[in-house]
Symmetry: C2
DNA sequence: ATGAAAGCGCTAACAG
DNA sequence: CTGTTAGCGCTTTCAT
């Protein structure tokens, strides 16, 4: 069943069917109605492939993530899909699973399907691969790491705002021995978080000497706390480079019979959904995944509709900010003093 | 840049280019080499839309899930994608988000993009919608609920095997007051789990009188335990219809100062990734998401390659089985007796 | 306002 | 073994 069949049955030309379906206003209301009746009766759905072929636009956006199973991404994918549906787009989701072969395939798949734009939300893509996309003038949107070039937009994350809030929150609770568990430091995003921590501590004159490198995984968080405990300069609070790390810290603390937050305050980063469900619920720096997805989608839409490549306003900004939950409390010493005060 | 450009530069016809690219064996090795050289030099990628148009096969499989943010699904999506990549397929992921409008759109999107098959892993799709797909003879694969029809495959989950193991495990640990927190009972999959529990309890002559209806959410699990505690016939163990429920139970127990597993043994169902990361790690009935994804993909591939619609062997079976972790222990009374014995 | 016809990039029959 | 050509289903000039 194709457009010709509809045309025949509605006794009009295929051009008219096409116009009716695409709601071209100049088409006669009578005819349009006739066409639609047939379309509905036969349950006709236009062939998107054919449309794409002639129009040169696939109405597909690529979305590259590290792994869908990383809890950071599902929310993003969902939001992206919601927006796609609203705008009559589909999304071509590829995950790199940290495998260079898959990254290459990812790019290849994008090009073969002729996507109208790609959001790259994974860290550490080879520049040479992206060259293929840039060469074809495929609109691109990055997080943090994008080059300053035509057709590419960038979402800049303001790590400092949220991390500063976190540090000051801890300081206000009288914590002075505040540790930081970083992510893998070759990641720009992990490095930026660490630097934000350093700066925030410096601003309020606290020493930032309890720093452990983690790997953004739960296991990494567990290992980090172990190291911290072994080092014997026990922190009373620990700020983590992401939520999974924080969850690992909480888990390890549990195994050491340390109470969170009574014995140790913990703050995460990202605010993945799961952070609400830990015991206790995790205080964390939110980097809104839905906001990020929205910005990415908007950036792509903007670029697609563009006529002249007026190269500006392709920088977007995402603020981070502290979400207070239950994993932070007054520093232990202060807390005990307060309690004994009450006891009297 | 298109196939003609390649043809021109390699001084052959487009047909030869097409053959070379598709590795048709009859093409002369010399020419093929010449073609590939040009292809590689220009970075030419065939246009999938055009291919799909002429071949009638889109090389896209639809994948319908409830919500990507439901922790049950990411693993499935990832496995499905891995298989898709291996087989030169793409996946069109749609989520219904429990919204009838979105379900309808989901089907429409599948048809418009002319998918070669659809895996429906969401519960409670309108039959009338699926009619559209069946009408077009789009191969379909369901979990549990599929009709017995041509082009339709079904993955039957053997809920009993795993749930029986769970019940017997609990019984072996001397639990007698075993509660069950069900899912929403209008869901076939939830009902099946409850029935499996009933049967398993009956088999070993234990009364199954502590049953609460939950909703497969963390909050539901919390509420369920609250009810159970209020009911005053405190269970020593609780089996949950899914892992999120179990996590809610654990959380609620924590708030009541009940220790898991010392005071209460908890078993989940599904074995989502998260189950390994709760405190304590959750003993649960595994319904392997990767296995499920593999079966679904294979079912679709099978149907696609099929010539005659030989209507048989489109039933697949998925076994469930108990994974022991740390959330179960001897029933409290027995446990204490054992401890005091040791003390002597 | 409507229709005829060209053509999007590719594959597959058919001819040579 | 290779080339010529028709056509996949649709949109879009260009006439009318």
């Amino acid at each position: 069943m194709d457009i010709r069949e509809i045309a025949r049955r509605a006794r009009v030309s295929t051009a008219t069917v096409s116009r009716a379906i695409n709601r071209v206003p100049t088409v006669d209301a009578q005819l349009a109605k006739r066409v639609w009746r047939v379309v509905d009766k036969l349950g006709y759905y236009p062939n998107t492939q054919a449309r794409a072929l002639v129009s040169g636009r696939s109405r597909i956006f690529g979305l590259v993530v590290s792994e869908i199973t990383n809890p950071f991404f599902p929310e993003i994918v969902q939001t992206f899909e919601n927006l796609a549906v609203e705008n009559n787009y589909e999304i071509l989701l590829t995950s790199t699973v940290h495998d260079p072969k898959r990254m290459e395939l990812s790019v290849r798949r994008m090009i073969e399907r002729r996507v109208d734009g790609v959001a790259i939300l994974t860290f550490g893509m080879e520049d040479s691969l992206l060259e293929h996309l840039r060469f074809r003038k495929v609109p691109l949107v990055f997080v943090d790491v994008g080059p300053d070039a035509p057709h590419v937009a960038n979402i800049r994350i303001d790590y400092l705002s949220g991390i500063r809030q976190a540090v000051q929150h801890l300081a206000a609770l009288r914590h002075t021995r505040i540790a930081f568990v970083s992510g893998p430091l070759q990641l720009k995003s992990a490095l930026a978080r660490k630097n934000a921590f350093l700066q925030s501590m410096a601003e309020i004159g606290l020493p930032a000497n309890l720093i452990v490198e983690g790997d953004h995984s739960l296991e990494g968080g567990m290992g980090a706390l172990t190291k911290l405990i072994a080092s014997n300069c026990c922190p009373t609070a620990v700020l983590c480079s992401n939520d999974m790390t924080a969850i690992g810290v909480i888990r390890e603390a549990y195994d050491h019979d340390m109470k969170i937050p009574a014995d140790l305050s913990v703050i995460g980063f990202d605010d993945i959904r799961l952070a609400q469900f830990t015991t206790p619920p995790l205080t964390t720096v939110q980097m809104s995944q839905t906001e990020l997805a929205k910005l990415a989608f908007r950036a792509l839409m903007n670029e697609v509709g563009k006529v002249s490549p007026n190269h500006r306003m392709n920088e977007y900004r995402l603020i981070t900010s502290l979400i207070l939950r239950r994993s932070t409390e007054l520093a232990p010493s202060v807390n005990e003093r307060k309690k004994s005060l009450k006891a009297k």
